[in-house]
């Protein structure tokens, strides 16, 4: 992350409704519709950097898990394209 400014971190981008239960604030990052977390479990204060840190870490972790099991991943799409040809 680059320079921390509280005002930039404390307000998330505007939400776009994706499904009845999910919204999107950052590109390709879905979030629960906050109305579903209004009774029993309340959402946490969540600075923007933290959302982006988690998303990036998830992708890094998934890459790591692939290479933990095998040297490379075969593209099923490429196999499908061969069959289609």
């Amino acid at each position: 992350m680059s320079a921390y400014r509280h005002s930039e971190q404390s307000r998330p981008p505007e939400a776009r409704q994706i499904t009845e239960v999910a919204i999107e604030r950052f590109d390709d990052v879905f979030e629960v519709d906050p109305k579903l977390m209004s009774v029993h479990v309340v959402q946490q204060v969540f600075p923007n950097w933290d959302t982006l840190r988690i998303v990036a870490s998830r992708h890094d972790h998934l890459d790591w898990m692939h290479s933990h099991w095998a040297a490379k991943v075969i593209s099923a799409q490429a196999l499908l394209d061969e069959i289609d040809d």
């Binding site: 029993h40 095998a70 075969i74 593209s75 099923a76 799409q77």
Partner: protein, 505 residues
């Protein structure tokens, strides 16, 4: 809470002498935290399962000494490895001493010539594989709990592996192990006079007996494992279907194809898809006509994975599968350990998010019976949720257990809002578990392919499943554990000690 009378100072002194003071834990928090496994249980009854004492041995000899002392004083022993099991194997039902083997996590030998390694029972598979990777080797025992479960627990539960269709399950992968019997005697279990045979025909085959007993027969301390070359390539396509039937047909054909690199096929039903739409980034944007999913997995050398992969892709295509793309496929497979037990998946009927415990009722079922079992199981959970809002149907999947498509681990995942679990809802859950097990048996299956069957509810039906074999279980238990100190109260084995128990002899 007071310490049991058998655990008075002389016994504690003996244990401290054997283990050192710092490895004998009497504190409350230490004991409460070893009463817990992931399977839900009413929180207000937690104290019922708290042991008197926890010991952390560092060697087979120390385990043996602890067991010998316990046996002499008739103190119950509960072996604890990862404590990630779903059938309460590591939960003390009669207090006593929890023998927590996590300190025994050394790698004692890596034999590159015979492709084996020998490890302490407290080692985790992921950590082991981080070391083996430097040798180009892998120990492919891959449960959902792969990042945290331990080799010893895999022995005690006879674990099931996600890629078992290719590499076998724990019972195939563990060649042999040192084992402390309930008297403290140490034996080596496995074929041959050494440690490293995969097959012999000499004498009784004891390995299966001493795996999957849920800690009722003793404690594994060191194991020799079969190793494979670390795979060069991985393939894991995910496919979408508009209905269950076509997905079911496809998964059957994929599993029966006989592709050598085939490591498993999975089917997710429409309840599971609905559940994934709640919070899984891959499924939130999927169109409404996606109602079932199938995944196939292959591991091996690149050329063989590609060759076998072409065949699998052709089968899927001919069955009308829609490929979900490389990104979803690869991401979902790599996330296979992480997508299970997220409490916030839980929803009450109003749709509000609540933290629910994940409980999966599993069974081993033949391919031909899967559709009927599925419908009956969902109906059981539907009735349960109708009465109690703390239960939530998280859908079902079925997963190949072998490389011929003969049988499947099938599982219904039920979210349980543990905070609200009271005596009435718990009783209803136990009844539901029994009903679920009864369906499995009615269709010729086993109560469990994976987790074991010694929890309240399904455990009542184990004698029915095993028939005369259950009587042999009683005889074996009594012969090996004359004082019933080893994990007492599990699998109904107490009846082996009743005056007319163990009628099989």
């Amino acid at each position: 809470m007071t310490v049991a009378p058998q655990l008075a100072e002389p016994v504690l002194d003996d244990l401290r002498q054997v283990l050192g003071d710092e490895h004998v834990l009497t504190g409350k928090a230490a004991r409460f935290n070893r009463a817990r496994v992931p399977a839900p249980f009413p929180v207000h009854r937690w104290a019922e399962r708290v042991p008197d004492l926890v010991v952390l041995p560092g060697s087979t000899e120390e385990v043996s000494e602890v067991v010998r002392i316990a046996n002499a004083h008739r103190i119950p022993i509960v072996p604890r490895d990862g404590g990630t099991g779903l059938t309460d194997g590591a939960v003390p039902l009669r207090r006593g001493i929890v023998v927590d083997v996590k300190r025994m996590n050394g790698i004692l030998e890596i034999d590159e010539v015979n492709r084996t390694c020998t490890v302490g029972a407290g080692i985790n598979m992921l950590k082991l594989n981080e070391v083996l990777a430097a040798y180009g080797l892998i120990y492919p025992d891959d449960p959902a709990s792969y990042p945290c479960s331990l080799v010893g627990g895999r022995i005690g539960t006879s674990g099931w592996s996600l890629i078992g269709s290719r590499y076998g399950h724990s019972r195939d992968l563990v060649l042999s192990f040192d084992f402390v019997l309930p008297t403290g005697k140490v034996i080596h279990v496995g074929d041959g006079a050494g440690r490293k045979l995969s097959k012999s025909s000499s004498g009784y085959q004891l390995k299966h007996l001493f795996m999957g007993h849920q800690g009722t027969l003793g404690i594994a301390t060191e194991a020799t494992l079969k190793l494979f070359p670390k795979p060069e390539a991985e393939l894991s396509p995910f496919f979408a279907f508009p209905d269950y039937d076509s997905a079911y047909r496809t998964v059957g054909e994929l599993a029966r194809a006989g592709v050598a690199t085939f490591a498993g096929a999975v089917l997710f039903d429409e309840w599971k898809v609905d559940y994934l739409r709640r919070d899984d980034e891959a499924y939130i944007p999927q169109p409404a006509d996606v109602r079932a999913l199938v995944c196939a997995v292959a591991y091996g050398y690149e050329d063989e994975v590609i060759a076998g992969g072409r065949r699998l892709m052709r089968i899927a295509k001919e069955n009308g599968a829609r490929y979900l793309g490389d990104e979803v496929s690869e991401g979902d497979w790599a996330a296979r350990h992480d997508r299970y037990a997220t409490p916030l998946h839980g929803r009450v009927r109003s749709g509000q998010v609540v933290p629910m415990s994940w409980h999966c009722e599993d069974a081993a079922i033949n391919y031909s019976e899967l559709p009927q079992v599925r419908l009956e199981w969902h109906e059981i959970v539907r009735r349960l949720r109708e009465r109690f809002d703390m239960f939530d149907d998280w859908g079902m999947f079925t997963y190949t257990s072998a490389n011929t498509g003969v049988d499947y681990l099938t599982e219904i995942d039920v979210g349980i809002w543990e905070q609200r679990l009271d005596d009435e809802s718990w009783a209803a859950w136990v009844r539901a578990k029994r009903d679920i097990a009864e369906v499995a048996l009615r269709y010729g299956g086993s109560i469990s392919a994976c987790h074991g069957s010694c929890r309240e509810g399904e455990v009542d039906l184990v004698p029915q499943e095993l028939g005369g074999g259950y009587d042999v279980m009683l005889d074996v238990k009594r012969a090996i554990d004359p004082n019933n100190i080893m994990n007492p109260g599990k699998y109904g084995l107490d009846r082996a000690y009743e005056p007319d128990g163990g009628s099989g002899s």
